[in-house]
């Protein structure tokens, strides 16, 4: 027993180290007092100072956040309706539609990027914020549907029967029973969409236009000429924000219980 608990704790430690060492290294390097070298040259705040004075990078960051929030919110709404529809109603082609959702998740991003670009070109949609938003909503929806649907199937169907029996209409059932019960899944779907949108490079590359530069594309394009520690600093700031968000949500959840 003892040995197994020891080995399992070693196993977990190794697993978590594997996940977190790169991130810790990134944060450490954001304080490295050299631009190119990967050896340690002393501690500095220089890159944070530069980061906060680089308006270009902040504009892209703001663009990315805005796009992510908008895309995640809309995708969560559409995904919720679609998932409820697939779960509650029987109609012709339902299984087929269900299958199509999985195909979208599995299909390579490059296929989606290229096909969206062709579509936007056909309908003469100028590439920019709108094209990015539409693209991001469409690749987020399947993930939201799957997240919500998996929660839905765990429900007791009798709840809905009971509600109907007591005279609730479809709309009331949706608002008063489904949405409150689905709240954690909605939140998870939203976060998932937001993250997907925030770090998508491939699809965004196809549909991005000249007026709306987003963060992942900008970071990616900087790789060739050398990633500045400024990017490390930005990633560290973003990581700390995520960390605080997760911590806060954990605390909030704990209070409820």
């Amino acid at each position: 027993m003892r040995i197994s608990s020891l080995s399992s704790s070693v196993y977990f430690t190794l697993t978590y180290l594997f996940f977190y060492i790169p991130i810790i290294l990134l944060i450490v390097y954001s304080f490295n007092n050299t631009q190119y070298s990967l050896l340690w040259h002393g501690f500095t705040w220089r890159w944070y100072v530069e980061l906060f004075s680089d308006s270009d990078l902040w504009i892209s960051t703001w663009h990315s956040f805005f796009l992510g929030i908008a895309a995640a919110t809309i995708a969560t709404w559409i995904g919720l309706l679609a998932a409820v529809c697939l779960y509650r109603y029987r109609f012709f082609g339902r299984n087929f539609l269900n299958g199509l959702v999985f195909i979208l998740i599995l299909s390579p991003e490059i296929v989606m990027g290229a096909s969206l670009l062709i579509l936007f070109t056909l309908v003469h949609l100028p590439l920019g914020f709108m094209s990015l938003l539409l693209a991001h909503i469409s690749f987020c929806i399947p993930f939201v549907i799957v997240t919500i649907y998996s929660r839905l199937v765990s429900f007791d169907k009798n709840i809905f029967e009971a509600a109907k029996d007591l005279g609730a209409g479809d709309w009331l059932i949706f608002l008063r029973i489904l949405v409150p019960l689905l709240w954690p899944a909605l939140f998870a779907g939203w976060l998932l969409s937001f993250t997907l949108s925030l770090d998508d490079v491939i699809i965004s590359y196809f549909v991005a236009g000249p007026e709306f530069q987003i963060l992942p594309l900008q970071i990616y394009s900087m790789v060739r000429s050398g990633i500045k520690p400024e990017i490390n600093a930005l990633c560290s700031v973003l990581f700390c924000l995520t960390f605080i968000l997760v911590l806060m949500s954990q605390l909030a959840l704990r209070k409820k219980v």
Binding site: A70, P126, P210, S225
Partner: protein, 391 residues
């Protein structure tokens, strides 16, 4: 449903410029890290033209984007490198420049005007350039007494060696008569591409991870032009390069400067701007302009056909050619500027530095890259795969 309405209102009003592009705007698609942020802000302040800047990391990406999105991506300025100017003007993708709208044209270094890739300079404005040559770390290969290594670059040794290194190198100079006497000594110096084939560099070289650069080196080492498209010559270059593979330690394009500074590779090919960046952190780094010749690349400004804001594009190009702006860009990128007036404003340690601004005599050995046919490029790719497999 009301929530939907609010959401759409939010999106449409927070981002008015995504719906209809304002007229007082210029959309730039540029190399990452070539146009400094503060220069863009200064331009916006002086002209009240809003700049939207997107960046790319290689010519192919920019070219594909322009080809696939013809009208719905409205770029006003792109920055093709030399041979892509050639390709894009042949595909009728570039606007013929009206030079009367670029009064600062006179600042340009005449050496970069009317190049082979754009014979009348009617489609492209040279901006920054660089040379692909050889770097080495004098700590590991000290036998390269500089006067022997680069006889064609006067003053190279004084400039390239740091205060830290100056004492030993002075010692070396004072003992030189005795040291240079032997034939072996002369053989040990690195001054041409062919020297990289030397077996003392076994598993030491860093090469750029770029098909065109590698084959240019192979072709030059055999005495051909880097723009040679004769399949026989390319095959010969491939066989020559295959012999080099055992000396190669790493192919890199992203982390060249770190590899040189941290001495992960101590000799190899690099761009002169990168060698200079590395030199600032590691004073043992030297750069050689190979005797057989070398490739000069030029990143240019060009205006795509159907650019919606041409006037603003001219204003921006003209602004970038201003001497003080050219100086800031040169300091920011560390690559040489094609702007002669800006070069004059640079501190002497840069403008006189033979790594960054080689003399006319040396530059004469440079070749501009021109576009190659698809067949030739396919041949390169085929051999490139084979090379990498064998290495």
């Amino acid at each position: 449903m009301k929530r939907f309405w609010y959401l759409s209102q939010l999106i449409f009003f927070l981002f008015p410029y995504s719906i209809h592009a304002a007229d007082n705007v210029v959309n730039i698609y540029a190399w990452a890290n070539e146009i400094p942020d503060f220069v863009v802000r200064l331009f916006e302040k002086e002209t009240h033209i809003k700049v939207n800047i997107s960046t790319y990391e290689n010519n192919e990406i920019m070219y594909t984007k322009l080809r696939t999105t013809k009208k719905n991506a409205a770029y006003d300025i792109v920055m093709p490198s030399s041979y892509f100017v050639d390709r894009m003007r042949h595909h009728d993708m570039l606007e013929k420049l009206d030079k009367t709208k670029i009064p600062h044209w006179k600042n340009l270094n005449s050496q970069f005007l009317n190049p082979t890739y754009d014979p009348d300079s009617s489609y492209s404005v040279p901006f920054i350039w660089g040379v692909t040559g050889i770097f080495y770390n004098s700590n590991y290969f000290p036998n390269n007494s500089a006067s022997a290594a680069v006889p064609t670059i006067p003053g190279f040794q004084e400039r390239a060696s740091s205060p830290r290194r100056s004492i030993p190198s002075m010692v070396a100079t004072s003992f030189k008569p005795g040291m240079v006497g032997t034939a072996a000594e002369a053989n040990n110096s690195i001054k041409k591409w062919n020297d990289l084939w030397d077996e003392r560099f076994y598993n030491k070289l860093m090469l750029l991870d770029d098909t065109r650069e590698i084959f240019s080196m192979g072709l030059l080492a055999l005495g051909y032009s880097p723009n040679d498209s004769n399949p026989e010559h390319i095959k010969a270059a491939f066989l020559k390069l295959k012999e080099l593979m055992q000396n190669v330690k790493v192919f890199s394009s992203d982390t060249v400067v770190s590899i040189i500074i941290d001495e992960d590779a101590t000799v190899g090919m690099s761009w002169n701007g990168d060698a200079y960046k590395a030199f600032q952190d590691n004073k043992n780094i030297k750069f050689v302009f190979p005797e057989e010749g070398f490739v000069i690349w030029v990143d240019t400004f060009a205006i795509p056909k159907n650019a919606p804001h041409k006037e603003a594009a001219y204003a921006f190009i003209n602004f970038m050619l201003r001497d003080d702006i050219g100086k800031e860009v040169a300091l920011y990128t560390t690559f040489p500027s094609a702007n002669a007036a800006a070069q004059k404003l640079l501190p002497a340690e840069i403008s006189q530095n033979p790594i960054i601004y080689p003399t006319q005599d040396i530059l004469k050995h440079g070749h501009f890259q021109t576009d190659l046919s698809d067949e030739t490029l396919a041949l390169f790719e085929k051999y490139w795969e084979e090379l990498k497999m064998s290495g």
